[in-house]
Symmetry: C2
Subunit: 255 residues, 2 copies
DNA sequence: CGAATGTTTGATAGGCTTCAAGTGGGGTGG
DNA sequence: CCACCCCACTTGAAGCCTATCAAACATTCG
């Protein structure tokens, strides 16, 4: 089921030309065109390749595939994961509308992980070679691109902190609070949203098992901090969850 | 004690002008100027700020400090770490000569972690604003910079895999093999080197305790895979360590 | 309706942490 | 010069958090 695009006047969505451009995309305030004037946006538009729709579980790219494009998510959700020699996989992130996929492929000219749609989704193909050409003409774009890459670095550092130092309860609270903030930034409810990923995916991302995630959900529910029905989630006590995430509030045992 | 600079003809080192330039730096094949012709290297030289020496345990920058410069390590070693609200710290990386510090600060205009010298070290200050100007004139430099940032992203993804999926033994093997490869790339011995960081730092980085690191060192020594004397380390069975790191070889219990 | 998949819950086990004590080297001050 | 102390490290014992194993339950889809 495709995601609704909130906060975009219907008039804009009805104009095909605009709809197919960055200016008309509901995500342009969060995505690559952030901060560009309309002139520069149209320059960016001119290099954007075709849009690509993916069904749930469809793969956008695969590890070791040659790198040609970055991808901006128009709507939908993705996960990215690595597979090591032993066949174990580690999910390195969940991405949503307005976020950029593929930056880890720049250094080696081939993709370093797999990207898979968690639901029916659509991305903009951004040919990286042409983007590089554009950097010379649009310094604002270049600076914003650097910020995006840097942000990805800090995001991963935060995950390292999570995986290296936190107990299961805190990890899970961080995960929920993070999702909440990102939905809020997109104009969705901060307290009520749908988990697009399976319990197994969450566990893999957080360095825990599916059973642990299930138990955490049950415990948080029993404490009255959240309510869950399948993948429909509501944060009933965001303050407590934030305190848990920050480490202000103590961890209680899993039993 | 300052590190020796290997593989640089003494003639070069004796010319002060060259010594102070990227062209004369033993790390220019690994560092920012990689792949630049001599013309572009001198352009890069012209924007490089002052060199800065740091004593062991001295801090290069601190979290939340305003971001002005990237730093290229000329010699020595650093660690970078985050501190969360609860005061817990997580080391996000160990950096050595030829590597770049501070890229995580671009997105927020302030440093996202602390950087501390593990021994007497020297860095080149690279004013980021001037570097950005130079990007417009030297596309090769820009492309290499993107590769460096992307490489940092993939490095962190590998750490996420390590922290999320691996047992203590495998983590430690990955750590040793990684150090070995980086020293080899710098012309040092791949099998024999000094650990510049404390056991506690290693443990913090790998998501383990100092006691676990100590036990791992003892076990690896007992197995004949390494020899250790204080911080002097020799890999006696690199193949086994690589197999452990890859997950090909099974983990044995810690007892 | 039945098989397959995803999830929940319980019992047990194990790997690593925590707590504790001891070792050893380097530096300092007498 | 040497005794002392401090710090980093090592080693042992016990406990806990989470994984693993197992089974039941729910849901989806053919």
């Amino acid at each position: 089921m495709p995601q609704p695009l909130p906060f975009v006047p219907a008039a804009l969505l009805n104009v095909a030309a605009l709809k197919a451009s960055c200016a008309g995309c509901s995500m342009h305030q969060l995505c690559l065109p952030m901060g560009l004037d309309s002139d520069d946006i149209s320059r960016l538009d001119s290099i954007i390749g075709k849009r690509r729709r993916l069904a749930r579980d469809e793969r956008l790219y695969q590890m070791d595939e040659p790198f040609r494009n970055l991808y901006a998510i128009r709507f939908g959700h993705f996960k990215t994961y690595q597979v090591n020699a032993g066949g174990e996989q580690q999910i390195t992130g969940f991405q949503m509308a307005g976020e950029l996929l593929g930056m880890d492929a720049i250094s080696g000219d081939r993709h370093h992980c797999d990207a898979v749609a968690l639901e029916d989704s659509e991305v903009c193909e951004i040919p990286f070679a042409r983007l590089e050409e554009l950097f010379g003409e649009v310094p604002t774009l270049l600076r914003h691109f650097h910020r995006i890459m840097s942000q990805e670095i800090t995001r991963e550092q935060n995950v390292m902190l999570l995986l290296g130092n936190m107990r299961a309860e805190q990890r899970f609270a961080v995960f929920l609070v993070n999702l909440s903030a990102r939905y809020a930034a997109r104009g969705y409810s901060a307290s009520s949203f749908q988990l697009r990923m399976s319990r197994e995916d969450i566990g893999n991302y957080l360095g825990l098992t599916i059973e642990s995630i299930s138990r955490l959900l049950s415990r948080f529910k029993k404490q009255g901090w959240i309510s869950v029905d399948k993948r429909e989630l509501t944060l009933l006590n965001p303050a407590m969850l934030k305190a848990l995430a920050a480490g202000t509030e103590q961890c209680s045992p899993m039993a």
